[in-house]
């Protein structure tokens, strides 16, 4: 059975409306983060083995160094950015919380604490971005840890190759 796309879209719209503008920023951040993460996965699985092979079959120290330089630089691209993006997720969640709190206190200032229903919108705006930020950060961290370890291993392999060449020259 296919999921009801219209219904899901409605739920998503409701979620974004309840969470306020910060949630939209978080969505953009999530898109960027996951694009980078998937790009890294693709790179490590597809592009990097070819680079490693190029390094191993290099015919001279000079050409090996050229290959190693390219591989090294490629290996480190966007990892630092991913790390920062992951760190930004909870911060944005906090921003959302504070924005929601401001709305909540605005309602309090206008209407007093008599009607808790009026405050519900502010509370939703305060809590939803925090939750979204946490989910993003945790899921991103899981992937990031794997990717980082894997690229460190590859980096060490490159260094071993380079040491081989060095001892020979």
């Amino acid at each position: 059975m296919l999921p009801d796309t219209q219904f899901m879209q409605l739920i998503l719209e409701e979620f974004f409306q309840a969470g306020g503008p910060v949630l939209l920023v978080l969505a953009g951040l999530a898109l960027l983060l996951w694009t980078l993460l998937l790009e890294r996965c693709w790179f490590l699985v597809r592009s990097f083995p070819q680079m490693l092979r190029d390094c191993q079959t290099a015919t001279s120290y000079g050409s090996f160094l050229q290959q190693k330089c390219a591989a090294n630089v490629a290996l480190q691209t966007s990892l630092a950015m991913i790390k920062t993006l992951i760190a930004l997720c909870p911060l944005l969640g906090l921003l959302g919380t504070v924005v929601g709190m401001i709305q909540l206190f605005d309602v309090l200032a206008l209407r007093g604490a008599a009607n808790p229903r009026l405050m519900a919108a502010g509370v939703a705006q305060a809590t939803l971005p925090t939750m979204a930020g946490m989910v993003l950060a945790v899921s991103g961290l899981l992937f990031y840890g794997r990717l980082k370890r894997y690229s460190q291993q590859q980096w060490q392999r490159l260094n071993i190759l380079s040491n081989n060449w060095r001892s020979r020259c």
Partner: protein, 456 residues
């Protein structure tokens, strides 16, 4: 004893000497006293006469007052009898009214009550802007008389009118009070009893018997939508189900500028820091892009290193060395010299990104101090009093985060870019030099080739 006798004798002698002068004085005194007594007697007589006169007058006044009292009492009894007569007449008439209305009395009560309620509804209803003076037909709600057929009809007709009109979307001409205070006759589109929109998409509310332009309009996108709706191009419109109440609440929401002003000095400080940080980030972004372009151009022409880019400078520095070890040492020292140029401005970026949230916290704490001061002054009885201060305190935190997040992002991007560039420079320059060396000594290459193949 002897002494006092002497003293008395001396005194007697003295008085005998003055006796003739004193006699004349005494005569004068006697005359004066007699004269005074005569005068006082005359005054007393006069006073007595006046008193008697006024006493007579008082008696006369008393008689007059008594006569008035008697007249008033007479009038009171007359009026009382009249009142009683009227009262019994009124009771009779009421009885008559009751008899005449018979079973309809309660119905009339209900009708009047409904008419009164409906008047209240019409007062706030947008439909009255299109049909002014409707409520006058229901004036009978305050009267005592027996309702006529027309009045009964007016009630149900007005009810029905309100019902039907509140289901209509209609355009009509009406005077609208602008925010400037002027009144213009413009085309207005009314959506049931909920919304009124002017031709250019401005939202209106109905209050005090006239349409007024809202001082604070909703977002421009909503207004554009409304304008399209009025022109008949769009089919969506924001409707306030609270009959304008929600729209009026909009004006109480502080604007962005008001919010920033709430942040106070700390808020402005954070914004200033943010602007500085953004400028630094932009500058570094431009410089690093430019440097990257230069390096790429140098890579295309490795043979003639230029001094206008880091890679060229590294190559130039390394070429001066003789052996490969010497070259590597020179390369490292040249790279160390390049590093600060590439990393310029990054530290301040990081500093601002770290300081901004802290400043936000500071603003929050100072705001909270203000809130607590208001608590000590006014107590915790009114949450409204505190809520304003708290939302003010939180603004600085928001500002701090708004500055820190993009700056952190920029810093991380620039930092990783710089580190990559440095690594690239080190490895690339070494690779270029080694390749060049190998090109000059082809025999080394031939010698090393099989080993390289083995290693692979």
């Amino acid at each position: 004893m002897k002494l006092s006798c002497v003293l008395a004798t001396v005194l007697l002698l003295g008085s005998a000497v003055n006796a003739s002068a004193a006699e004349a004085d005494m005569q004068a005194l006697l005359n004066t006293v007699q004269d005074r007594v005569a005068r006082e007697q005359a005054t007393d007589q006069q006073r007595l006469a006046t008193f008697r006169q006024s006493s007579r007058e008082q008696v006369k006044l008393l008689q007059q007052a008594e006569a008035r009292l008697a007249a008033s009492q007479q009038r009171q009894t007359d009026l009382k009898t009249l009142f009683d007569e009227q009262e019994s007449l009124l009771a009779e008439q009421q009885n008559l009214l009751k008899n005449r209305t018979g079973q309809l009395g309660e119905i009339f009560g209900v009708v009047k009550q409904q008419a009164k309620d409906l008047q209240g509804v019409l007062m706030d209803s947008l439909i009255s802007a299109e049909l002014p003076g409707r409520a006058e037909r229901l004036e009978f709600s305050g009267q005592q008389e027996v309702l006529t057929r027309h009045e009964l009809e007016a009630l149900w007709q007005t009810f029905q009118q309100e019902l039907i009109y509140s289901g209509q979307v209609k355009a009509f001409e009406a005077p609208v009070v602008m925010t400037s205070g002027e009144t213009h006759n413009t085309e207005v589109v009314r959506v049931g009893a909920f919304n009124a929109v002017s031709a250019d998409g401005e939202f209106l509310v109905y209050a005090d018997d006239r349409l007024k332009q809202l001082a604070r309009q909703p977002d421009s996108s909503v207004r554009a939508q409304a304008a399209e709706f009025v022109r008949g191009e769009g089919d969506t419109l924001l409707v306030d189900p609270n009959r304008g109440g929600l729209l009026q609440l909009l004006s109480l929401k502080p604007t962005l500028q008001a919010r920033i002003e709430q942040g106070g000095g700390v808020g402005y400080l954070i914004i200033g820091l943010g602007i500085v940080g953004l400028l630094v980030a932009l500058w570094r972004l431009l410089v690093s892009t430019y440097t990257g372009l230069r390096i790429r151009r140098q890579l295309a022409a490795v043979q003639n290193p230029r001094k206008d880019n880091p890679l060229g400078r590294l190559l130039l520095a390394a070429q001066a060395g003789g052996s490969r070890e010497d070259m590597e040492v020179r390369l490292d020292s040249a790279l160390l010299a390049e590093t600060p140029k590439l990393e310029q401005g990054l530290a301040i970026l990081k500093l601002i990104a770290a300081v901004a949230p802290l400043l936000g916290l500071l603003g929050t704490v100072t705001g909270m101090i203000g809130t607590f001061q208001s608590i000590t002054l006014f107590g915790t009885g009114d949450p409204k009093m505190m809520a304003g201060g708290i939302s003010q305190a939180l603004i600085t935190t928001v500002l701090g985060l708004c500055v820190a997040i993009p700056l952190l992002f920029c810093h991380s991007h620039l930092f990783s870019r710089t580190r990559r560039t440095l690594q690239f420079l080190q490895q690339k320059s070494l690779a270029i030099l080694v390749e060049r060396e190998e090109a000059q000594q082809p025999e080394v290459l031939a010698e090393e080739y099989p080993e390289a193949a083995n290693a692979a």
